[in-house]
C-alpha cells in the first residue's frame, strides 16, 4: 500500500524538479542569447542598412587605401564565427555546468 501510494508522489516530485531545472536553464539561456544576439542583430541591421541605403558612407576612404565597405565586410565575415564561439563558451560554463550538476545526486 505504502509503495503503491508513493509512486505518484515521486513522479510529481520528479516532474517538479525537471520543471525547475528547465526554468533555470531557460532563464540563463535567455540571458546569454540577449547578450550576444542583440548586438549581432544590431550589427546585421546596420550592415544591411548601409548596403541598401548608405552607399555613400561605404565609399568613404579610410587610412591604408581602403574604403569603409571593406572594413564592414571583413567585420561581418568574422562576426558569426566570433558570436558562435562565444555562445558555445558561455553555454558550456553557464548551462552545461548546471545540467551536469543537476544530474549528480546531491
Amino acid at each position: 500500500m505504502t509503495t503503491a501510494g508513493a509512486v505518484p508522489d515521486e513522479e510529481a516530485a520528479d516532474e517538479q524538479t525537471a520543471a525547475r531545472l528547465a526554468d533555470e536553464l531557460r532563464r540563463r539561456r535567455r540571458r546569454v542569447v540577449a547578450v550576444l544576439g542583440l548586438p549581432s542583430l544590431a550589427c546585421s541591421v546596420a550592415h544591411l542598412g548601409l548596403v541598401a541605403f548608405g552607399q555613400d558612407v561605404l565609399r568613404e576612404p579610410v587610412p591604408g587605401g581602403l574604403t569603409v565597405d571593406w572594413i564592414v565586410a571583413a567585420t561581418m565575415l568574422v562576426l558569426p564565427w566570433a558570436v558562435c564561439a562565444l555562445f558555445a563558451r558561455a553555454a558550456h560554463h553557464r548551462l552545461d555546468a548546471l545540467h551536469a550538476g543537476a544530474a549528480v545526486p546531491r
Binding site: E15, V33, A52, Q55, W70, M76, C84, V104, P105
Partner: protein, 504 residues
C-alpha cells in the same frame, strides 16, 4: 592529356570511390534511425564538415568566385549571408531542435501538436523546398557534366540522377555523410590550392593583387556597391531569405539530428561556422585573384554567368591538369549536395505522407529514393539546360524562411500557439512565396509585373507570421500542459524525467 580527359578520369575515380564508401557506410543502415539520422552517431567535427558539404554546392564554389569577378563588392553580401544565417541557428534553435527531434525538422514541430494534418502540411513544405533545391542542383550538374564529357544534356542529367540515387539507396544518411565529408575536404583543398598558386603567381604580394583586382576596368568599378542589386528593397528581401532561410532548410537542419545530443549539436554548429568562414575567405581571395588576372576576358566569362571563371583561372595558373581537377571536383560537390537533399525528400514521403507501422521503413525509403530520383530527372530534362537554377534556389530559400521559420520559432516560444495556427502559418508562407515569385519580374511573362520585388521574402515572411497569428487567435486554446512539456524537453532532452530522477 587534355583538361577534359583528366577531368573525366578524375570524376570517374571520385564516383567509384564514392560508391564504394557509401556501400561500406550503408551496411550500418539497417534501422530507420540509421538510415535517416545515422543513428545519431556522427561526431561533431565530422558532422560539421558534412554540413559544410551540404551548404557549399558547386554553385557556391563556381558561382561565388564568378560573382566576385563580375560584380566585385556586392558579391561579399552573398558570401556573408550564409554565415550570418548561423547566428540565429546557433542561438535560437540548434540545441532545442536536437533535444526535441528524432530524425527531421517535422518531427520537432509535430512533437508539440501531434497532428496528422500538420505533419502532411509540413511534408508538402519540405518536399517543395527539397524538390526546388534538388532541381536547381540537377540542372547545374547536367550542364557541368555536358561541359565535362561533351554528351547531350538529357544524358548528363540521367547520369547525375543514377549516381545520386545510388549514393542514397546504398548508404542512407551514413552514405550521404561520407560523400559530403569527402567533398567538403576536396572543395577546401581546391580553394587552398588555388590560393597557393595565386600567392606564387604574385610573389606573395597580396596588396598588389588586391590593388589590381579592385582597379576600375571595362566599365566596372568593383568597389562600387550596387553593381548587382540596384533596388534596396530587393537587396533586403534577399538578405532576409539568406539570413533566416537556413534555419528552415529541412535538409540542413536534418544534420543536427545526426549527432548524439544537444551539446554535440552546439559543437557541430561552432565548427561548421569556423569552416564556412575559412571557405568564404578563400572564395573571396580566389575571386579577387581572378579579377586581377582575367579582367581582359570579362566579356567571354560573363556570358557563362561567371560559372567558368574558376576553371579558367585554374587553367591559367596550373594548366590542363588543374583545370581538370577543379572541373571534376565542382561536379562531385553537386552530387554530394543532391544526396543530402534526396534523403530529406524521401523522409518527407515515407515518414510524413505515407507512414507505415509495418516496420519496413528502410526498404520503403530506398524505393521512394528511386521514385523521387526518376521524377527529378524527368522534370530537370523537361526544364532544359537553359533554365535559371538561381531562380529555383531563391524560391527554395523564400519558402524555407516564410513557411518553416515562423512556425518553428512560435512552436518553441509561444504558449498560446495552436495546431491551426501552425497549419495556416505554413500554408500562408508557402503560398505567398510561390505566388509573389510568379507575380514578380523574374517569372512574369509581360513587361510590367504586378510586383516589382524579384525575391519574395520581404512580403512572404510577414505574411507567414500573420498566418500563424491569425490562425492561432481564431482557434480554440490548446491545453497549457503540452507547451510546458515542450519547454522542459527542449532544455533537458527527451530523457528529462531520468535527469530529474537522478537529481533527486
Amino acid at each position: 592529356m587534355s583538361g577534359r580527359t583528366i577531368a573525366l578520369l578524375l570524376f570517374a575515380a571520385l564516383v567509384l570511390a564514392g560508391l564504394i564508401l557509401t556501400y561500406l557506410a550503408g551496411r550500418r543502415s539497417r534501422t530507420a534511425g540509421e538510415f535517416w539520422a545515422a543513428g545519431g552517431g556522427i561526431s561533431p567535427t565530422r558532422n560539421a564538415i558534412a554540413t559544410l558539404g551540404d551548404l557549399m554546392s558547386g554553385s557556391a564554389l563556381l558561382g561565388g568566385i564568378g560573382l566576385m569577378f563580375l560584380v566585385g563588392y556586392d558579391s561579399l553580401l552573398y558570401l556573408v549571408l550564409p554565415l550570418l544565417a548561423w547566428i540565429p541557428v546557433m542561438l535560437l534553435v540548434a540545441e532545442r531542435l536536437r533535444n526535441l527531434g528524432e530524425y527531421t525538422l517535422t518531427d520537432v514541430l509535430v512533437r508539440r501538436f501531434r497532428s496528422g494534418s500538420l505533419r502532411t502540411v509540413l511534408a508538402v513544405s519540405t518536399l517543395a523546398i527539397s524538390g526546388l533545391y534538388l532541381l536547381a542542383q540537377v540542372v547545374v550538374a547536367g550542364n557541368l557534366f555536358t561541359l565535362l564529357s561533351g554528351t547531350g544534356y538529357p544524358v548528363a542529367v540521367v547520369v547525375t540522377g543514377v549516381i545520386m540515387v545510388a549514393y542514397v539507396g546504398l548508404g542512407g544518411m551514413h552514405g550521404a555523410t561520407v560523400i559530403q565529408v569527402v567533398k567538403a575536404v576536396l572543395l577546401i583543398g581546391v580553394l587552398a590550392g588555388l590560393t597557393v598558386l595565386l600567392l606564387v603567381r604574385f610573389g606573395g604580394d597580396v596588396g598588389g593583387m588586391v590593388a589590381r583586382a579592385v582597379a576600375p576596368a571595362g566599365g566596372l568599378d568593383p568597389l562600387r556597391p550596387g553593381n548587382l542589386l540596384k533596388d534596396p528593397w530587393d537587396l533586403l528581401s534577399v538578405a532576409l531569405a539568406g539570413t533566416l532561410g537556413v534555419a528552415g532548410l529541412p535538409h540542413v537542419m536534418m544534420r543536427i539530428f545526426t549527432v548524439r545530443d544537444a551539446v554535440h549539436a552546439r559543437r557541430s554548429v561552432t565548427v561548421t561556422v569556423a569552416l564556412l568562414t575559412v571557405a568564404t575567405v578563400l572564395i573571396a581571395f580566389v575571386g579577387l585573384g581572378a579579377s586581377a588576372l582575367l579582367r581582359n576576358e570579362t566579356k567571354e566569362l560573363a556570358a557563362s554567368g561567371g560559372n567558368l571563371v574558376a576553371p579558367r583561372l585554374a587553367e591559367l595558373l596550373g594548366g590542363a591538369p588543374t583545370l581538370g581537377i577543379v572541373s571534376a571536383i565542382a561536379f562531385a560537390t553537386v552530387l554530394a549536395v543532391v544526396a543530402g537533399l534526396l534523403v530529406n525528400a524521401s523522409s518527407a514521403v515515407v515518414r510524413d505522407i505515407w507512414p507505415s507501422r509495418a516496420g519496413d521503413e528502410v526498404r520503403r525509403a530506398k524505393r521512394t529514393t528511386v521514385a523521387i530520383g526518376v521524377v527529378v530527372v524527368v522534370v530537370a530534362i523537361a526544364l532544359g539546360p537553359t533554365f535559371n537554377a538561381t531562380l529555383l534556389v531563391t524560391l527554395a530559400f523564400a519558402v524555407a524562411a516564410s513557411a518553416n521559420v515562423p512556425v518553428l520559432l512560435f512552436t518553441l516560444t509561444w504558449r498560446r500557439f495552436t495546431t491551426t495556427g501552425a497549419i495556416t502559418g505554413v500554408l500562408t508562407g508557402l503560398t505567398a512565396a510561390v505566388v509573389l515569385m510568379l507575380l514578380g519580374p523574374t517569372l512574369w511573362p509581360g513587361e510590367h509585373p504586378p510586383i516589382s520585388l524579384s525575391a519574395p521574402t520581404l512580403i512572404a515572411l510577414p505574411l507567414g507570421v500573420l498566418g500563424c497569428v491569425v490562425g492561432t487567435v481564431l482557434s480554440r486554446r490548446a491545453p497549457a500542459g503540452d507547451f510546458a512539456a515542450i519547454q522542459i524537453e527542449s532544455e533537458l532532452g527527451r530523457g528529462a524525467r531520468a535527469t530529474a530522477e537522478s537529481a533527486r
